[in-house]
Each structure stands twice: as C-alpha cells, then as structure tokens.
Symmetry: C2
Subunit: 228 residues, 2 copies
C-alpha cells in the first residue's frame, strides 16, 4: 500500500481519492472512512459507493466515543438542530469569533492521527486529506486551518520516523478549485453526499449544502447529487 485517503463521502475527499488514483494504481490505495456519531451517517453509504467505484480497499472505523461528551449540533446525540445559514452568517451572530455549532472538537486531528497509525501499520508513504481554504471559514473550523494542518504534517512526519507524509493538495485552494480539479479527473460527484442533515435528499440550506452549490455554480454546472 502506498496511500491512505480519508474519505468522508463528500466532494473534497472524493476529489482527493481521484488525485490518489491518478498517481497510484487502485491496489496501492486504501480509503478510510470514520463514523464519529454524525447526524449525516448517510455520507458513509456514499463513501462505500465511491470506494467501490474506484475499486480500492475501504476501511470503516467508529470513533464516536471520542465525542461522547460533546454537544456539537453535527452529532446525532445532540438535540440541537443544524443551523440553516452559511458559516460566515453564523459567525456574524457571534461577533465574527469562535467556532460554529457544527464544530466537533479536534475531529480532523483525530482522523489524521488515526490515518497516520493505519498508514504506519501498512507501510503507506502518504496520507491524502481534502482540506481546502473555504473549510476554515475564519474561526469557524479551527481544525481546517493551514496553521493546524501544517503542525499535523510535522507531527506525522516526525512521529512516523520520517516514513510518512501528510498531504492536503487543496489546502490553499477554494472549494470551487477542488470541484474544477475533480471534474478534470472525472470524479464521481453524483455518488457523493455532503448535507449535514442526513435526510433522503440534501436540505440545500445548511452550511455545507450552500458551499457545495456555490462550488458547482462557479464551475458552470449544477450539483450532480441534486439531480435524479
């Protein structure tokens, strides 16, 4: 195995998997999907379909116990509902500071560390991760910022004895750039799922639905997952 790709089942991680598949053969790539107690566990079904599409080994792991004490509205255990507003609008309501209600404490740090443990165990040389510049959204998601990610890169490189690197090919790109790259690689976006609510159809109103629609619109197409 050469690469581990963190695959949530959304647009960004699917694009990362497309990047890995362009670079390595499918039998050298492992997709890793984490269940962390999210309301939208439907994205895990999407991840399965995407991994099957690319014929890569797919490992699913539950890490929801880490967030047993969290009241993030993204978690199924929370009674709070997911806000119907963009991340920027949510921050306006709190003076432009702090995290948003859907922030899950250090979630991405845990995912990356877990991926590094798996990568070290199977001898993979790289971990691909779909963070991009729009994800951080100011202080909304601190575990999506370049400052966080670059520290994790160093931690993984040093902690693995220089055997493994962490890559976020879109770290300084927008989500529209991610979609542009994925369209170029024929990423199977019709199979993806992003909506935080996890109902039958995407709500079209939560932060991630709004971001996603904008990214496809910027590329001159409508969201393939909203069709059919």
């Amino acid at each position: 195995m050469k690469a581990v790709v963190l695959l949530s089942g959304g647009v960004d991680s699917t694009t990362c998997l497309a990047v890995a598949i362009k670079r390595y053969s499918a039998d050298q790539v492992m997709a890793l999907t984490v269940y962390y107690g999210q309301k939208h566990a439907k994205e895990i079904e999407a991840a399965r379909k995407i991994a099957a599409f690319y014929k890569v080994r797919h490992v699913e792991q539950a890490l929801s116990s880490a967030f047993a004490f969290s009241d993030s509205s993204l978690l199924a255990s929370s009674e709070k509902s997911v806000p119907h507003a963009s991340y920027a609008e949510q921050l306006v309501g709190q003076g432009g500071e702090g995290t948003v209600e859907t922030y899950v404490p250090f979630r991405n740090g845990l995912f990356l560390a877990y991926a590094a443990a798996v990568a070290g165990s199977i001898g993979a040389e790289t971990i691909l991760y779909g963070a991009h510049a729009d994800d951080a959204a100011g202080s909304a998601y601190p575990d999506c910022t370049p400052a966080f990610f670059e520290a994790m890169c160093t931690a993984v490189y040093e902690g693995s004895g220089h055997a493994c690197t962490l890559e976020a090919p879109f770290l300084r790109k927008t989500k529209a750039d991610v979609v542009a790259a994925g369209l170029d690689l024929s990423a199977p976006y019709r199979l993806t799922w992003s909506c935080y609510e996890g109902r039958e159809k995407p709500c079209g109103r939560c932060g991630t639905c709004i971001d996603r629609a904008k990214a496809f619109a910027a590329n001159g197409i409508s969201d393939p997952a909203m069709e059919g």
Copy 2:
C-alpha cells in the same frame, strides 16, 4: 473539568497525574487510558488502581483497530516476542538507526489526538502527557521526540481554536528526574505497571523494565512495584 491526563498505568503517566492533582482538585481531572492491543494489558488494571487512588474520573477507550495491520512486537496480535535488551542495545543491532520492534506506528499521536477530542468535548484547558527525554532513545520511538511533541502542541492549540494546550512537564527531563518529581509528590508507584510482557511479575529484562530499574536506582531506592 480542567485537565485530561493520559494514564497508561506506568511511572511517567502516574507522575503526570500527581502533577495534575497538585494543581487541580480531583473532580477537575479526568484520567484517560487507552487499550491499543498491547501485550501488557495488565497496565490497564494498574491505571484503574491509580485513578481510584486519586479519586479521579477514569475513562477507558479501545483503539486497537488502528493497529490491526501492525506487526509491532508490543502487540498481543504479533507473534514476535518483546526483545530482552535496552533500547540503545536494540539500535546497535541495526546500525543506530530506525525504530525498535516495540514501536507502534504513531501510537502517541493517536493518543494525544484522542485526548484533545475528549478535552475539547468536556471543556478541559489542558492535556498532561508523560513523555520524557529518555523515551525517545535516539530514533527508537520517533513519537516521543521533542520535534514530534512540539508539533502536536501546535496542532492541538490551533485545532482547538486556542482552547486547549498540551503539556509534557518532563519533555526535557530524564526518567530519573520524573521519578524524583513523583517521589516528591508521593506518587503511588507501588500501584504502577510497566513491563511489556504482562506476566504476573515484571520480567526485569525488557527495555522498559531496564529503564525503570535505573530510574529508581538513580534515586537511591529499589522499584516499589518489584517488592511484595
């Protein structure tokens, strides 16, 4: 809750818990113990006794799936036996380079990230971790080096939105210094367990038994856990 302490049940983490208890009241401290598939699961029983001694909340978590693909000799799933030699002696056999057989890929990174997720969920402001200078032992355990730890500190601070810090009070001290500090705080060393083999009595010959005996000897006493 103010602090999360990673408690393995050994000398270093028990000393960290003693430091936390000196600083906070017991009801402000959570001890977190991880089962990762180690041969010496006996240290978990030790952790329970130590947490009970200090009357702190104790959370146990299994993360062994992360290492399902690893052949580290520290894991119960490995058929390799734990080497009977100090870390330095083991490295001599491999030209002074690489990790030792008992290295578990990115184990400490995963533990710290998990602790950060829990700390963020319960609103703890700090995570205490028992790494010290002898742990790194050259390249033996890359996830014990200051370069690794300092990167994780930055990752936790940034990824938590500056809400949580990571502390390793003994990062640049020797294990003998750790024991000196713990003796000063009356840490219950008789309850601790370190031996990698997990039999009824410590073997006295594995890397961690050797290090531990030296650290107590340097303080002019015999290992309290070897008595009785």
